[in-house]
Subunit: 233 residues, 2 copies
DNA sequence: CGGTCCATTGAGCACCATCAAGACTTGTGG
DNA sequence: CCACAAGTCTTGATGGTGCTCAATGGACCG
C-alpha cells in the first residue's frame, strides 16, 4: 500500500541509492526518471513474507525492520535497515517470494525498482553486479552477526550493544549517520533485540540502577559508555 | 595445512564447481589448469575466523562446518556445506578477514581459488558475477533459515528437522545427493543442531521411546517419517 | 585388565518467557 | 477541567527449556 508519491521534481536527487550510483553517468538520469518514490507509514509493510518479489526497494529515509513469522505467530527480527540500504533484492535475484516482511518503524521513503528494471540493469551493467556482490556480502555478514549474537549472548549483552550502537549513531557526524533513531516503543526495541517487552524493561532498569542509563524522562540516555561496553563485552 | 594434492590428471574433471561452470567454454580449461586440489582431514580447518581471506574454496567432496567462536570459547555453527558449495567468497569479495572457521567433518577435497584469480575472473566474466549473485542469495537465505530456527524452535523440532533432512539426503537419487552424511559423533550433531551433547542425547532418546527412531545399533535410523514431520512441524 | 573416549543419565540451576496485575500516560468527550 | 478509556510501561510470581557439572555405563584397544 504505497502512500504518498513524492512530487516528480525530487527525482533529480540520487534516487535509487547504490543502484544508481553504480551506473555509468549516461544511464543514471534515464534510469532514475523511470522510478518512483513512495512513503510508507510506520507499520505498513513495504512487502510481505511469502508474496511474489515484484520489486527491489532502496531506502531513502527512515528505518525498516525485516522479520519472519513463525508457525505460532511469533516474529523473529532478522535485521534493521536504514537510508542507503537496498531491500528485497535477494528474492528478486532468485525469482522467489520474499522471505521476510519489511516493516517501517517510522514514516519511510523508498525508491521502488520494479523486478524487470532491476534484473535488466544488473545484467547490462557488470559494474553494478560487482557492486551488488559487495552489498550482499555485507548484508550477509550482518545476518550472521545477528545469528551469533542471538545464540551466544544474554539479553543484557544484546541490549547494551544495541544501546551503544544507537548512541554512536546519534553522535555521528551528519554525513556518517545512517539515520537510525531510537524506536519510540519498548515493544519495537524488544523485537529488535530479540526479547519480550517485560524482559527488556527489567534489563533496562537493572542497567539504570547501576547508573549506566537514565530512564527518567521517557528517553533512554546512556550515562556511562565504558560500563555499557563492559556489559556488552 | 593442505594435505594431499590429488594427481594432476584429475584436473580435467569439473574442478571449481560453479565458478568453472559459469565460465565461457574457451576459458574453462585454462582456468582450471591453474588451480589445485587439496584434501583436508576432519577437524583440520580449511580457514580460520579472523585470518586474511587469501582464497575461495570450492567443495568437491566431503562436508564442512562453518562456525564462529564466542568470547567464552563457545561455538555457533552458522551453516553446513557440501559438494558444489563455494566457501570464503564473501570475505574475498569485501577484502576482509574470514568471519567464520571452515572445519571439515570428514576428509574433504576442495579446489583452491586464490584471491587474485577469483576477483579477476569475476570481474572479467559478467556471467559469472550474475551466477555468484544467485549463489550468495541462496546462501544468505540459508543463514536466515538457521537464525529463524535457532530463535523460534525447540531443540526437539530442530533435531527432528535435521534428522529428516539427513534421511531425505541418504535416500536421494545419486545425482541429487548433496553428499551430506550423518556426522559420526554426537558432539558434531549437537553443534550443528545448536545444542549440547547432553540435551541432544535426551532428545534422541525421547524420540526413540516414542518409536520414531531406532538408536539400538550405533546408528540413528528414522522409523516414522510422518511422526517426525509432526514434531518438526 | 585398566585406560580412554564417548554416550547416557541424574540433579540442580540460570535465564528468560509467560501470565497477571498495577502504575502511569495520553487522548477523548462531556 | 474532570472523568473515563485505552495504551504503554513496569513489577511480581511462576514455570519451562535447556545448560552445567558430575557420575555412571559401554565400547574399543593396547
Amino acid at each position: 500500500m504505497p502512500v504518498t508519491p513524492l512530487p516528480r521534481k525530487h527525482l533529480d536527487l540520487p534516487c535509487a541509492g547504490c543502484v544508481a550510483d553504480s551506473l555509468p553517468e549516461r544511464l543514471r538520469s534515464s534510469f532514475c526518471s523511470t522510478l518512483f518514490r513512495h512513503a510508507y507509514e510506520a507499520e505498513q509493510p513495504i512487502f510481505h513474507e511469502g508474496t511474489p518479489a515484484l520489486a527491489v526497494f532502496s531506502i531513502l529515509q527512515g528505518s525498516v525492520l525485516l522479520w519472519r513469522m513463525g508457525h505460532a505467530g511469533d516474529q523473529v527480527v532478522i535485521s534493521m535497515r536504514g537510508p542507503g540500504c537496498l531491500i528485497g533484492y535477494r528474492a528478486v535475484i532468485l525469482g522467489r517470494p520474499y522471505t521476510v516482511t519489511a516493516e517501517p518503524l517510522e514514516r519511510t521513503i523508498v525508491c521502488t525498482i520494479p523486478r524487470e528494471t532491476f534484473t535488466r540493469v544488473v545484467r547490462e551493467n557488470p559494474e553494478l553486479a560487482l557492486r551488488l556482490l559487495e552489498v550482499m556480502a555485507r548484508d550477509s555478514f550482518r545476518i550472521e552477526d545477528t545469528l551469533t549474537a542471538r545464540c551466544m549472548d544474554s539479553v543484557s549483552k544484546r541490549t547494551a550493544r544495541f544501546l551503544l550502537f544507537l548512541d554512536r549513531e546519534s553522535k555521528a557526524v551528519p554525513e556518517l549517520r545512517r539515520g537510525f533513531h531510537l524506536p519510540a516503543k519498548r515493544e519495537d526495541l524488544a523485537r529488535i533485540i530479540g526479547t519480550t517487552p517485560e524482559t527488556l524493561s527489567r534489563t533496562l532498569h537493572t542497567l539504570a540502577s547501576r547508573g549506566f542509563l537514565d530512564l527518567s524522562d521517557k528517553q533512554i540516555r546512556v550515562l556511562n559508555v565504558e560500563a555499557l561496553q563492559r556489559v556488552a563485552e
